[in-house]
Symmetry: C2
Subunit: 457 residues, 2 copies
């Protein structure tokens, strides 16, 4: 690609200009096979967490609102099958996809990039009648745009209190939608500009329904930006890098060169991991350690006498809740997650239910957990020692937790997670069908079949 | 009011808590007569600029989108009479009300508070079937909330590049809607929280369609926040003052005490002025000076040889576009507005048309304008000297421009502005009817008649 061709303006800064070129000109043939494969894994996982999250209270309330607001029947809300406009579907999907805190994480920036991007692209693809390959390409573009926007802003943006999934997510949603709508470069600049000037979301709302609300808004705002741009609505051309644009207003020290460094060659998608457990990623190495000890040594909960876990200091800073009383608090209690993993051998959303939190075995084991912060450890590591009443010392050393770059979640685990989320909602056969359909997505002429199978029959 | 009663939580900071009390408990009887009168002036002016802006390209494009997106018939878009959901109406009204850059300005913060607030409240009042007094009360509450949020953030927020009308406007829209929906204190906290976490808008987009887009989003986002809160959707309780809330994330040096200082006693409404000219308020003192020179001395455009205008530095920073090519650029060219005032003696939206921008007289006079930034001047002042070919030196010294606090726009000017905007769209009789209906708003049992008369017959 040559960013200087076909667009005679100097009103767009260089990195944004290259990004716009990428959004407008990337074709399916430009995607390495590994990007296609990883995209399909992420799309499947997105469907799983969305369907699995469909009965959460936040989702039910938002659905009441969307039904009352109404809208043209352009696309489909999974599970309920409501037909409404794509903005409404994107809002719902963003909430559904993020409400369990179980969607993917881009490690360098803590961006959960797939949910805002896919919540926009699934209904847009359905509405436009585009192919599975079109969706994969738009997703890869949208995710990359979101991740690179996040990198350009990181870490000051997040540290200030911005929920980067809401802010950079909207840019990615607009980029992918612009690609599907086949916008030209100037319209794409407007789509990015309108997404940027709507970008929002504060970390204050972590732990409330408004965390996932912000992700739903990222998806629907990104769609709105691209749709308006497609009709000729304009914005400033330099909405990201301009003097009063997103980076200047919402950044601190920013790195605009991240927008296009090795763009189309290095894919940030591979820095993003699927979550094996529905809680903060910082807890995952310790949970992996607990699972390994259980799998290799099968200690009975009643026999456990001591648990010592050495972790990165951030684990204690973020998830050191001692006595979780709700499922949400359970997600911020690494001791509980270790205990649940050791006692139950499973950690799915249902395992954060009150009866698990209060189960005598789990509560007893949780109280045995002793955590040590070790600042020499990377965030991906944890080292656990369990001592049992029969004198055994069981150890597990996790260097790269499951789902982190370098240790991707195996396909069997991905499928088990999907079934665990989807079976209770749609039944196991439908879940299996969806796995097959997403696996064949790059040869599907439309997403109609997938959408149809996300709906309860 | 005693903020400590009826709400036993320490999770809301004191100033926000007092603001929530004001939102929830203010009754029509709490509004001084002058507040009611000023509210009616602002509501009339809002209808005028909205109807006058209804044929702008940004509005037409947005309307195409809204029609395609569809929605339940809850309320009415003025002029076209489209019936759609209140979120859509709010989006349209926010764009319509701001697109001419002709809506009111809160001088201390450059907030255009009425448009985002009224764009939410007019459709909500229509939908709920509430009275004119209910609308006035909700408007006074919503405006006050927006203005005090803006004051709490000013000046760092605006200086950083935030369009405060988009950000604080959303908070005001949510507050007024929460009042109309009769939300309790906790729900109101959630409405404010959800508005805060959606708050957005960058000054980069000044001069493009996305400036008014951001105001439309402020209205519709504020409505969405309050509607979701009314159904039980929650957020953090302390979305404004909390550690990762709006003020911390989007402010610099902030002044949360502005939220409730003399609240209910001092009304920021009186620090807001109606605009006599459809362009940035910073240009108004200079335009007033040009009009005064024309009115007092009647110089022929061809005789003008030099124009020197001394202004606050912000005038040059914001509106120093030398060669405006479009009407929008004309609004950001103080030299053009001075020239048009001197040459034509009128400055309405039609005076920013291409034939005026390119008119030889106007173009010649524009090029004669020499601006001097004087940081000792307040923003309300301008001092102009015009030299003519017959040796005259014509001067005008404006200390408080028309429409600024201390020099409110006279009612005759308000009505002339309204007719100038509305007559071309709805005809003079309908415009006159609307003036009468808004004047009697505090005795109207509903807003149905007003809404009906905003629609072309």
């Amino acid at each position: 690609m040559n960013p200087s061709t076909e667009w005679a303006t100097d009103a767009v800064s260089a990195h944004t200009r290259a990004l716009i070129d990428f959004i407008c000109t990337t074709t399916p043939a430009d995607l390495p096979a590994a990007v296609v494969a990883e995209s399909k894994r992420n799309i499947l996982d997105f469907l799983g967490v969305s369907i699995g999250g469909s009965d959460e209270r936040a989702v039910r309330i938002a659905l009441e609102h969307v039904r009352d607001a109404g809208g043209t029947e352009q696309a489909t809300i999974p599970v309920t099958g409501d037909r409404t406009n794509i903005g409404n579907v994107a809002l719902m999907l963003g909430i559904m996809g993020h409400v369990l805190d179980f969607d993917d994480s881009h490690l360098p920036t803590i961006l959960h990039g797939t949910t805002p991007v896919m919540s926009a692209l699934l209904p847009v693809t359905e509405w436009l009648g585009r192919s599975g390959t079109d969706l994969i390409t738009a997703y890869a573009i949208g995710f990359e745009t979101a991740a690179r926007t996040a990198l350009a802003l990181h870490p000051d943006h997040y540290d200030t209190g911005w929920h980067v999934t809401g802010t950079a997510g909207a840019i990615g949603a607009a980029a992918g939608t612009a690609h599907l709508l086949r916008l030209g470069r100037e319209e794409t600049a407007y789509a990015l500009g309108m997404a940027a000037t709507q970008a929002a979301g504060h970390r204050e709302h972590f732990g409330s329904m408004s965390k996932s609300f912000g992700v739903g808004k990222a998806g629907s705002n990104g769609v709105l930006a691209a749709l308006l741009a497609s009709r000729g609505y304009d914005s400033a051309l330099d909405g990201l890098e301009g003097r009063r644009g997103m980076f200047a207003v919402m950044g601190g020290a920013v790195h605009p060169e991240a927008l296009d460094a090795d763009l189309g060659k290095r894919w940030e998608l591979f820095q993003s991991g699927l979550k094996p457990y529905p809680c903060g990623i910082v807890t995952h190495p310790a949970i992996d350690a607990a699972f390994r000890i259980r799998a290799e040594h099968h200690p009975e909960p009643a026999d456990i006498e001591a648990i010592e876990v050495r972790v990165h200091p951030l684990v204690l800073e973020l998830t050191n809740k001692h006595t979780p009383r709700t499922g949400l608090e359970g997600k911020f209690s690494v001791a509980f997650t270790i205990a649940a993993a050791l006692c139950r051998g499973r950690l799915m959303p249902v395992d954060f239910a009150p009866e698990v939190l209060d189960h005598p075995d789990v509560a007893r084991v949780r109280q045995l957990v002793r955590l040590t912060a070790d600042s020499t450890l990377p965030e991906s590591e944890a080292h656990a020692v369990v001592r049992t009443s029969d004198g055994r010392t069981l150890t597990a050393d996790i260097e790269v937790a499951t789902g982190m770059p370098g240790n991707p979640m195996p396909e069997s685990h991905l499928h088990a997670k999907f079934h665990g989320l989807v079976d209770p909602v749609l039944g196991s056969p439908a879940a299996g069908t969806l796995i097959g359909l997403v696996d064949a997505l790059d040869s599907a002429s439309s997403v109609t079949e997938i959408v149809r199978h996300t709906v309860t029959s």
